[in-house]
Symmetry: C2
Subunit: 239 residues, 2 copies
DNA sequence: CTTGCACCTCACGTAGCGTCAGGCTGTACC
DNA sequence: GGTACAGCCTGACGCTACGTGAGGTGCAAG
């Protein structure tokens, strides 16, 4: 059943093919420019695509919809054997990274939108946004500087457990035990921020305005309790 | 505690500020070009940024990290009142859309990668990718054409239930009852594809090579059973 | 012969900068 | 005072995957 027998030596003009494939003429021009899909030409220099070109186009489209870049597609279509599998795996990894990135982003945005609902003025909201950003940058900078973060979370978790026990025992934030724990938190904070005032303020703002729901065993209620104890500490210094 | 008293009338040069904010000099040039952050100049025409500029920059950075575009940031910083809240809500909606998109993408990629593990040659894999794309395009085209899709899934589900009952009753795929159901499936497929051969083939390929885990009550086992019954139908026509 | 449509080839625009290229400024050292 | 070097300046092109014209050609119908 050759093309000749069935009369299927069909040729497509750009417009037809674009229509059929759900693309635009310009896109086909672009693919040709990249050497990704190079059609033949008529005497009048008009492009025409044969059956092979069309099949190639559908593959291109399929890989495009998976999110591969045009150069990547060109490469996997050139070196077909195991390259496709590797390309898909690489791309899967990238997609999963993107996914976690966007998920975090969405969570932050949700949090901020929730807060915005409950009538907070814009500058406070901006402040919260900025504080988040500042603290994250600080953490990133520490990691980039090669600071060993071993036991980083564990220590916070341990402090959280102690403070929660104190709170659950009904001790007021101004109690000696609570203030002692607050002092330890302050020391930890100082070590973490390297004494940077801006980061310390940003952290305070986050605790007050946008405490994370659950971070190393800390809850919003615990953060509030801590703030009470820290306030008691300050009163102690300058009564 | 004014700037004069504390001597904190500090001014930053571009390089310093870029370093401090974790950006590049070029980015700051760009922000100035957009009118987003316009510093003062020294006599020698060098940029310098004061405390207010720095604060503005940190807000810009924070909003950028939330994924807002630079024009959007410019706008929300100009018209601060409720604009920020609206912008965040809009952006949240976009983020959630992106999230579902990437999630679907990841699922497809995972599926394909799984199949690639079990040593399938590249062209078959490409074929599966292409078939997915083709079927999706067909569905999109139908929806764009305004085809009423009411009861679309329900009918497939009903057919699936009948076929599963048949399979669970131990009837062989070649039994009269199974072939009758296969005939009804064929009719549905024909109605769905509008008789388009390419889409029919793509669907057959998907059933065989990459059956979805769960779609309107159909499982891979059920798809295999259906293929058996369809094969029995064909044998019946030309024995 | 004109109308009209599909086609052709430039070529600029998009977002957010990266990355030269070529020239000026400011400071430190000799 | 000269000079070396870091840091600053202003263009201007590059990147993705095309969109969107502008200005000209090919071909069939009226």
């Amino acid at each position: 059943m050759s093309d000749d027998e069935t009369g299927t030596t069909r040729r497509w003009r750009v417009g037809e093919l674009a229509e059929a494939a759900g693309l635009t003429v310009r896109a086909l021009h672009h693919y040709e420019h990249l050497g990704l899909l190079v059609p033949s030409r008529t005497e009048a220099n008009h492009r025409f695509y044969d059956r092979g070109d069309v099949e190639r186009l559908y593959r291109i489209r399929a890989l495009r919809e998976l999110g591969l870049s045009l150069p990547e597609i060109a490469q996997t279509l050139r070196a077909a054997p195991g390259a496709l599998r590797d390309a898909l795996r690489d791309h899967l990894a990238r997609a999963e990274q993107e996914l976690t990135r966007i998920t975090e982003l969405r969570d932050r945005l949700r949090h901020l939108c929730d807060r915005a609902e409950t009538s907070v003025d814009a500058s406070a909201l901006l402040g919260a946004v900025e504080a988040m950003s500042r603290v994250e940058h600080h953490i990133a900078a520490r990691q980039a500087a090669g600071r060993p973060e071993r036991g980083f979370e564990d220590r916070w978790r341990a402090l959280g457990v102690d403070l929660r026990a104190c709170m659950d025992d009904g001790e007021p934030p101004s109690s000696t035990r609570a203030r002692e724990l607050a002092r330890r938190v302050q020391a930890r904070l100082h070590a973490f921020t390297g004494g940077d005032q801006a980061t310390l303020e940003a952290l305070a703002r986050l605790r007050r305005d946008a405490p994370p729901q659950e971070l190393a065993g800390w809850t919003p209620a615990l953060f509030r309790y801590l703030d009470g104890a820290l306030a008691a500490l300050e009163d102690e210094v300058e009564p």
